[in-house]
Assembly symmetry: C2
């Protein structure tokens, strides 16, 4: 049976794992949206392309919950990025034209400070003593990177999933700073269904005895909890339609670990996803970022209509997927309608893909097409 | 934090908890569909109404995964049953006309033998040594109840959810025995999405250290695992649309147990469902029945078309819900088309309810209407 809770040490991150990664210091103290203060913080980021002398071609890109700032390969880091098909020379986000900055979210564990990094006041890992963060804080940390780069206005603020929320939070916090908005499979307010699904994923981690109230040793993630959380997450990132086509009732390609699970191919797929994630993302960082998503609600900024009006955005591209159960197409429509009402030239793209929420990663063609068209209209 | 894994003893079931419950012995040995043999088995059931002298007004009803045979109140047991609005004198399944038998599924823990009952050869609880059971075995155990009652033909075989599967398995195993079929939110083959969702629920139980490889003491369910499994299940039994209307982003009505969960009302709802279930259903029984659902596939009987043809069913009522993600409306349509092609007078009812899979319990009116019409046409 698989309840043994084997703990495997995480490989210490090699110094050259992220050769293109750069850092920006946060203001010290950095006052968080809910009032707490963060000291000695920093944000990791990567860039592609060149900033024009007029500094008017910058795109700021926010990520989903778990990726790093490595959105695409480059000369410095030729490894594949999380949005490789979309970002690069000649691609939809054409780095021959645009200067793109992708930030690792505040609270994550890929270079930005968060629960897995050391508290500079004590030298010890924050763990669950890290202050609660919000999507607004992730957006503000992105703003701090722009300040470090001497960029005071953006051609585009963009993001997908959590990053879609962050792009809207950025718009709410810094109206007028970005001329255009691209929100991919985001929302203006987390839905109760998405909250419920993330809540049970967090509970899977919290009830893993290896979580140790958040005090697990560095590199000793609560694996069973993280594995289960990822399996639940994976189910909700895709769609029933896709799995019917892709897995049907085919048997597993490996022997079942016990008599209650692992008999079907769809279970092998979940198992692979779980194993890839269990040690790859710090459990406390996961808890913090997941919770921040639940709490996101533009009502704290007067609502999506007011945010859209204040933004003075020239144009907005809102993309969603018909089969996405976490960030439903109705939510995309609500955001798009607000920007349209506010006078932004707005395009709502309803992607018909069986890949659900993950379509922007798994079925990129319609996203590439929409983003290419949107950005080509604005080439400098 | 909620990871303490507190074990609370289950209240010993009072002798009079199920005053209307009766038992039928299974043949000894009872050969299971996958070939193993069960010894000294029994099935619990309840009945309503009176069998006609011609013995031609019997309806056999199969339940979902977790209910007992107590589908409705009666003079002997006035407590509310799990399908109270649908079953009773003057109701859609009118017990003034019909003799209704509801069986507790083989493998469950409400009187029928299963992992929580004692192996008569050893006197000890079976636990995970209970043989693997299938939906076909649940159907065959229902057939054994009919035999005990001297009933050799059915006016109707009916069931919802797992019971919908069982009604189809019954039709496959005993063609011609039931004149009519009512399948509510069932399927002819579990989908990979439903398999995935049930698999993670079982894994939540398996990874709870209190599961003890299935050897937990009687009444000491692995609570954390069962709680988490029920939360995941509850999410999939309902729909995003319903929760948007019902909970929105309202705050919880009780203080959050920790800083990572319990802030929103939808989480309070999940918590209530989890607490009600954690001790109410034996964990091993849950594992067995959940797994049996995954394995169900009429392909083992030549496919739904062949089953429908052999059944010689006079008529079939197939009801499904547009928002059901576990037993999707496409699956209902597939079953209905097979019976229509086979020449049964077939009605497919697509219920437009926001209540998802649980609509047959939570939003019963459209089910009552469809079943009443279907059965009224056949009053003896």
């Amino acid at each position: 049976m698989s309840s043994s809770g084997t703990v495997r040490p995480v490989t210490v991150e090699p110094r050259d794992r992220w050769p293109a990664r750069q850092f920006a210091a946060l203001p010290d103290p950095f006052t968080l949206f809910d009032g707490e203060q963060l000291h000695g913080g920093r944000v990791a980021y990567e860039t592609w392309g060149r900033l024009t002398p007029a500094r008017d071609n910058a795109i700021l890109l926010f990520t989903g919950l778990s990726p790093s700032a490595h959105a695409a390969s480059s000369a410095v880091d030729p490894s594949e990025g999380w949005w490789e098909p979309v970002l690069g020379p000649g691609k939809a986000i054409d780095t021959n034209h645009w200067f793109v900055i992708c930030v690792n979210s505040l609270g994550s564990c890929f270079g930005s400070c968060g629960p897995a990094s050391a508290d500079p006041r004590t030298g010890r890992r924050y763990g669950v003593d890290f202050p609660a963060i919000t999507i607004e804080d992730i957006a503000a940390a992105g703003r701090a990177v722009l300040a470090a780069l001497g960029i005071s206005s953006l051609a585009v603020v963009a993001g997908a999933s959590l990053g879609g929320m962050a792009s809207l939070a950025f718009t709410a916090l810094f109206p007028g700073l970005a001329k255009r908005l691209i929100s991919v499979s985001g929302t203006d307010a987390a839905s109760p269904f998405a909250i419920a699904l993330r809540s049970v994923q967090r509970e899977a981690v919290l009830t893993d005895p290896d979580w140790l109230q958040g005090q697990y040793p560095a590199g000793r993630n609560p694996r069973n909890g993280m594995r289960l959380a990822r399996k639940i997450g994976t189910i909700t990132y895709r769609s029933p339609v896709e799995w019917q086509q892709r897995y049907g009732r085919l048997p597993a390609d490996t022997p079942p670990p016990n008599k209650f699970i692992g008999e079907f191919l769809v279970e092998s797929y979940l198992e692979n996803q779980a194993e890839r994630f269990a040690d790859a993302f710090d459990a406390n960082c996961y808890l913090y970022l997941s919770r921040a998503m639940d709490r996101f609600d533009l009502a704290r900024h007067g609502g999506v209509d007011q945010v859209a009006q204040k933004s003075r955005a020239e144009s907005a591209l809102i993309i969603g997927v018909e089969t996405d159960m976490l960030f439903r197409i109705e939510e995309q429509a609500r955001v798009a309608q607000a920007f349209a009402r506010a006078g932004s030239r707005t395009q709502l793209v309803r992607v018909e893909s069986a890949s659900g929420h993950d379509a922007f990663l798994a079925d990129t063609e319609p996203f590439e097409a929409a983003i290419r068209t949107f950005l080509t209209e604005h080439h400098q």
